[in-house]
């Protein structure tokens, strides 16, 4: 299946979606750019800590609601720039959770449970301040009535915990994650940190995997303990080399400091941002053209060292 087909089939106006990765690593960027090119609108987006993917989707005008723990791209943008602007100007609605809470919410969805408990966030505005009003929640069947609920532990003081915070499950229409290796059937393998990708993947009604390498089934089945995503969860597998670029993909390539710095500069200015979108997003047909546009020299610079999995001595200022 092509990326155009996969995104066209599953990501619609108003869809509830989640995307994998964490800050500047393994964001499913090729899929994000395709969503932007298709001018999908009114997405309800769920992430824990995400950077470039969130910012590009918001910058492309695709998102109307977001449930998030952290919007930042490390040193390249301590707070994601278009995200910041959209929240300040009120052009998107936001609900704040913590990373652990978002992870538990995806896990609850994956397990088919309505909620899971945690001891995180007592006494904070994460509990007291709601982004989506009670009324809006009641009127939207795809969103739970409560942001979260504090309750006394039904087990008394067992494990020295008198109270718990219950966080509601997330079940998305579609989740997109980028993995290092997958086969045609859909089995996926992530190398390095998995973040919450596995929980995100399994909490979706439909799952799209993009992969750096499409490998023979035998290659993955020979070491099944290294595979995190069994094919039974997967709806579409798309082979997209450099599919996480300009974010990093462990053992394949590093993040591209040049691209991320140029993006940050463009994102701060309406005219420059318009030019950026025209050239790098709308002006190319897909990831292959984007990579060609950026050029071989930069790809060489960010190519991962096989031992450490990142580009050693990469200029990152």
């Amino acid at each position: 299946m092509t990326l155009k087909e996969a995104i066209g089939d599953y990501v619609k106006d108003g869809s509830h979606i989640s995307i994998g990765g964490f800050t500047t690593t393994r964001n499913p960027m090729a899929a994000v750019y395709e969503i932007m090119r298709r001018k999908v609108r009114d997405l309800h987006l769920y992430v824990h800590s995400n950077g470039p993917a969130v910012d590009e989707l918001i910058g492309g005008g695709c998102v109307s609601k977001i449930e998030i723990a952290y919007g930042g791209s490390g040193k390249f943008a301590a707070t994601c720039i278009r995200f910041k602007k959209a929240v300040q100007e009120g052009t998107i609605e936001i609900e704040d959770y913590t990373n652990y809470q978002m992870t538990l919410r995806f896990l609850a969805g994956a397990m088919g449970l309505p909620f899971l408990p945690t001891r995180s966030s007592f006494g904070t505005d994460i509990i007291h301040t709601w982004g989506f009003s009670k009324e809006a929640r009641k009127n939207d069947p795809k969103v739970p009535d409560e942001k979260l609920v504090v309750m006394d532990s039904p087990f008394g003081n067992w494990m020295d915990a008198e109270k718990v915070v219950l966080v509601p499950a997330i079940q998305t229409d579609v989740t997109i994650i980028h993995v290092q290796k997958a086969d045609k059937q859909g089995t996926g393998r992530i190398e390095g940190l998995t973040f919450a990708d596995v929980e995100q993947a399994k909490s979706a009604k439909h799952l799209i995997l993009t992969c750096e390498e499409l490998v023979d089934t035998g290659d993955l089945r020979a070491a099944p303990d290294q595979n995190q995503i069994p094919f039974i969860h997967v709806d579409a597998v798309v082979h997209v080399p450099h599919g996480a670029y300009p974010t990093a993909c462990h053992y394949y390539y590093d993040y591209d400091p040049v691209y991320l710095n140029e993006y940050a500069k463009a994102a701060r200015d309406e005219q420059l941002f318009g030019e950026y979108l025209k050239k790098y997003v709308y002006g190319v047909k897909g990831q292959e053209e984007l990579i060609a546009l950026v050029g071989e020299e930069r790809m060489q610079a960010i190519a991962a060292d096989p031992q450490t999995g990142y580009a050693k001595n990469l200029k990152r200022n």
């Binding site: 910041k84 007592f122 915990a161």
Partner: protein, 253 residues
């Protein structure tokens, strides 16, 4: 030897880290402090990230907690569920030492990294909690890095993202949190700690060339200064290791 306030802050934090500590790091100066401790005074400390990496060999400074540099030569690479379990685990959790940063702090060490102004129409939106509220909720000890400014040391934070000692005294317990809360605040001028009983912030140290009065002038609320002493400046050895080994590209320094 000349040094910057950033170098001073990093070294002051590194000195607090002991062998056996499992150091939870956020992005930026907190990573550098953990690397400095590991290279200078606490070689047996363990650097730990919410993304799931435990005891990676940081040959280059990571620029985010998901940077592939945190994945190299780790004891284990997993994900967020495992990382937050490590902080709550009744055996390993006791050893976790958190390092956080924020835009605003109050006298009980409650911090804001979400918005300045009104939540629904903020003047400035920041990244949000990420894992900060989780760490601040779970771990027994933590450091908070701050810039010493009146608009940052405030009577009331605009949004309480991560719990400190909440309302002081046994505020954490009443709210349902495990024991813990911030142990010290490190700024570009001074070091603050929290009273054992009231959990209220007090001035514990000021840097060479800084007066107690100057610190107070840069805070909206007043703190006890009677226990304050001048902080030892970084040594030549500390500075050399920090500059040459931890951040030779000067990405954070």
């Amino acid at each position: 030897m000349e040094y910057t306030s950033r170098e001073m802050m990093t070294i002051v934090a590194a000195r607090e880290i002991k062998n056996g500590d499992i150091v939870f790091c956020g992005t930026g100066i907190s990573m550098l402090a953990a690397m400095a401790a590991k290279n200078i005074n606490a070689p047996e400390s363990v650097i730990f990230f919410e993304t799931g990496s435990i005891d990676a060999r940081l040959e280059e400074l990571p620029l985010a907690v998901a940077d592939p540099r945190v994945m190299y030569w780790a004891s284990s690479n997993s994900g967020l569920l495992d990382a937050f379990a490590t902080m709550q685990n009744r055996i390993t959790g006791e050893h976790v030492f958190g390092i956080l940063g924020a835009a605003q702090i109050d006298k009980f060490g409650n911090i804001n990294s979400t918005v300045i102004g009104e939540y629904y129409k903020p003047r400035t939106r920041f990244s949000g909690s990420g894992g900060a509220c989780d760490v601040a909720s779970f771990v027994p000890r933590s450091i908070i890095f701050m810039q010493q400014e009146k608009r940052k040391f405030v009577n009331k934070v605009d949004y309480l993202t991560s719990p400190g000692h909440l309302t002081g005294n046994d505020g954490r317990k009443k709210a349902g949190l495990p024991p813990g809360g911030p142990e010290l605040v490190i700024t570009n001028m001074a070091v603050m700690r929290f009273d054992d009983t009231t959990k209220e912030m007090y001035l514990a140290g000021y840097y060479p060339g800084v007066t107690k009065e100057a610190v107070l002038e840069n805070m909206e609320f007043s703190v006890d200064v009677s226990r304050a002493e001048e902080v030892e400046p970084p040594t030549e050895n500390e500075l050399t290791i920090l500059r040459e080994k931890c951040d030779p590209q000067r990405l954070i320094l």
